[in-house]
């Protein structure tokens, strides 16, 4: 179980303090899909980075399986079984896809890599020796990023917009992955087909929890985006 408790995050820019997240609390039980959605800039990526330990919160705590992990490093959290897929995959000169999958999985089983990559519509033979550099297309990079996270077979997976830039065929495969894998998945997404895979939905707005509840409660309320409502009010 992952519990986020009263998390706030401020940054100081030119002497001015800006609040990016304020008082975020929620619980994600084991083996559920939690989808975080909300406007661009609402703080979704920041929240995911705080859970992974890439950013330190200004205040608040994170508990994982009952243990306070707020002061643990990224490495320690990874070793506890938390995995993280970057919104913008990192490129490396000289690092092959095979090497990355080896590091992620701790083994060098080509058949395993093959099954992971093919879940995302990539043929391992064409990709394992490719470098993880910027010669890979955006969608290829994104899918390989997701493969390196799945390779870890971790208990709790954080995905930041896994659908971004990937084609419709790979997208359908991705939906299947979240439908079938018996893991805790926290997924930042704007895509209704992915949001439909949620057990719980968290809607962020201006760094605050706007809505949090089961898919049945929240999903129907998402059809009218705030922007549309605002326009309607202004026009009416």
């Amino acid at each position: 179980m992952l519990e986020v408790k009263n998390i706030s995050y401020n940054v100081t820019e030119n002497g001015l303090t800006k609040t990016i997240l304020s008082n975020i609390s929620f619980v994600c039980p084991d083996n559920q899909n939690l989808v975080i959605t909300g406007h661009n800039g609402s703080g979704k990526s920041t929240l995911l980075k705080i859970i992974m330990g890439i950013l330190q919160p200004t205040s608040g705590q994170i508990f994982y399986d009952g243990k306070d992990i707020t002061n643990l490093s990224i490495t320690q959290r990874a070793q506890l079984g938390i995995a993280y897929a970057f919104q913008q995959p990192v490129t490396f000169k000289g690092m092959t896809v095979r090497r990355m999958l080896e590091i992620a999985s701790g083994n060098n089983d080509f058949n395993y890599f093959c099954s992971l990559l093919s879940k995302l519509g990539l043929c391992a033979r064409d990709y394992v020796e490719r470098e993880m550099n910027d010669k890979l297309s955006g969608g290829e990079r994104k899918r390989i990023e997701i493969a390196t996270v799945l390779a870890r077979d971790a208990k709790c997976n954080l995905f930041d917009e896994p659908e971004a830039g990937i084609d419709i065929w790979s997208f359908d495969a991705l939906v299947e992955i979240f439908k079938n894998n018996k893991k805790t998945n926290i997924i930042v997404s704007h895509q209704s087909k992915l949001i439909e895979q949620a057990d719980k939905i968290l809607v962020l707005s201006n760094g605050q929890v706007d809505k949090f509840g089961t898919k049945e409660e929240i999903f129907p309320t998402l059809n009218h985006s705030q922007t549309c409502e605002k326009l309607r009010r202004e026009n009416g």
């Binding site: 992974m52 890439i54 490093s73 990224i74 490495t75 990874a78 070793q79 995995a83 993280y84 970057f86 990192v90 490396f92 000169k93 000289g94 690092m95 092959t96 090497r99 590091i103 992620a104 390196t148 870890r152």
Partner: protein
């Protein structure tokens, strides 16, 4: 061969015994083993140290190994190796030099290699330089490489300085005629007080000739590396230089590119990027469970591969 020579041989040439094909082993400033084949003749020079290597036209799928090992301190070894490669060949040349020196005296190797590559031939040249030693011993390399490439020939040159080399000054020169294609990959790792200089001059004389230079440098400790390239386009040609460097600790890398287009149809490109290891690369590997030190090690290993 003694244990030190065998260990050096393994590291610089990836071989553990006498290889197939033609070879010339040089140990501590003297010829140790030499073998010619019907297609590849190796002849020791009469007037100076070194060998002439004659590859008969149409020789395909064959290799030449010419490793040099220095196993003692205080040696200064200088050799002239000339490669005469006929037309329509496809061969691999494995060179390289390992210096083992734990004494207080400097050991130095200077290899002056000249390649005459015939029409339509393809040459892959692999060279590794390695120093092993302790104390205040110094291991130095001063290679000079000249390449003359006839019409439609191609050469892939992979030079690697793995580590332990206190001082190196490497000079390379190439002249390419019509349709000739040269690919250079140079990798240099320095640490402590090591100093490394490498300069390239490539003259693209022939129509549709092309060169691609990829340089990867890692400078750790207080080491300093200097990279200078000069690509001269004299006809319709293509030249590309990419220089990537990672600096750690107090390492220094200086890259000086020069591209000199003398013909309206020359296209010459240079890219260079030097910096410390990108933080997001370390973060990515940390999210896979590695600590910072292991992450850095793996990033550098892959970068130099």
């Amino acid at each position: 061969m003694d244990k030190i020579s065998l260990e050096l041989l393994k590291q610089i040439a990836d071989i553990e015994k006498i290889p197939q094909g033609a070879y010339n082993f040089r140990i501590d400033g003297k010829k140790a083993e030499q073998h010619s084949t019907s297609e590849i003749q190796i002849v020791s020079k009469k007037d100076k140290q070194g060998i002439d290597i004659y590859v008969a036209p149409n020789t395909k799928g064959k290799s030449v190994h010419i490793p040099v090992m220095l196993t003692k301190g205080g040696l200064k070894d200088m050799v002239y190796n000339d490669f005469h490669i006929g037309e329509n060949c496809d061969i691999v040349i494995v060179a390289g030099c390992g210096i083992y020196n734990c004494s207080n005296a400097t050991s130095e190797h200077q290899g002056i290699h000249t390649f005459y590559i015939g029409k339509n031939s393809h040459v892959k040249y692999v060279e590794k330089h390695l120093g092993i030693g302790e104390n205040n011993s110094k291991r130095e390399f001063f290679p000079i490489t000249k390449v003359y490439m006839q019409q439609s020939s191609t050469m892939e040159m992979e030079t690697t300085q793995i580590g332990g080399v206190s001082n190196t000054n490497r000079k390379s020169f190439a002249k390419l005629y019509d349709n000739a294609k040269l690919i250079i990959k140079e990798k240099i790792m320095t640490d402590n007080d090591d100093v490394s200089k490498s300069s390239f001059e490539v003259q693209l004389v022939g129509k549709k000739s092309s060169v691609d230079v990829l340089s990867r440098s890692v400078a750790k400790g207080k080491s300093k590396q200097t990279f200078t390239s000069n690509i001269i386009g004299k006809s319709e040609c293509f030249g590309h230089v990419e220089c990537d460097g990672i600096i750690l600790d107090n390492g220094i890398i200086v890259s000086t590119p020069k591209i000199n287009a003398q013909n309206i149809d020359s296209t010459l490109v240079h890219e260079a990027a030097i910096g410390k290891i990108a933080q997001d690369q370390i973060t990515k590997l940390e999210t896979l469970g590695l600590n910072k030190e292991d992450a850095e090690k793996i990033i550098i290993e892959s970068f130099m591969l």
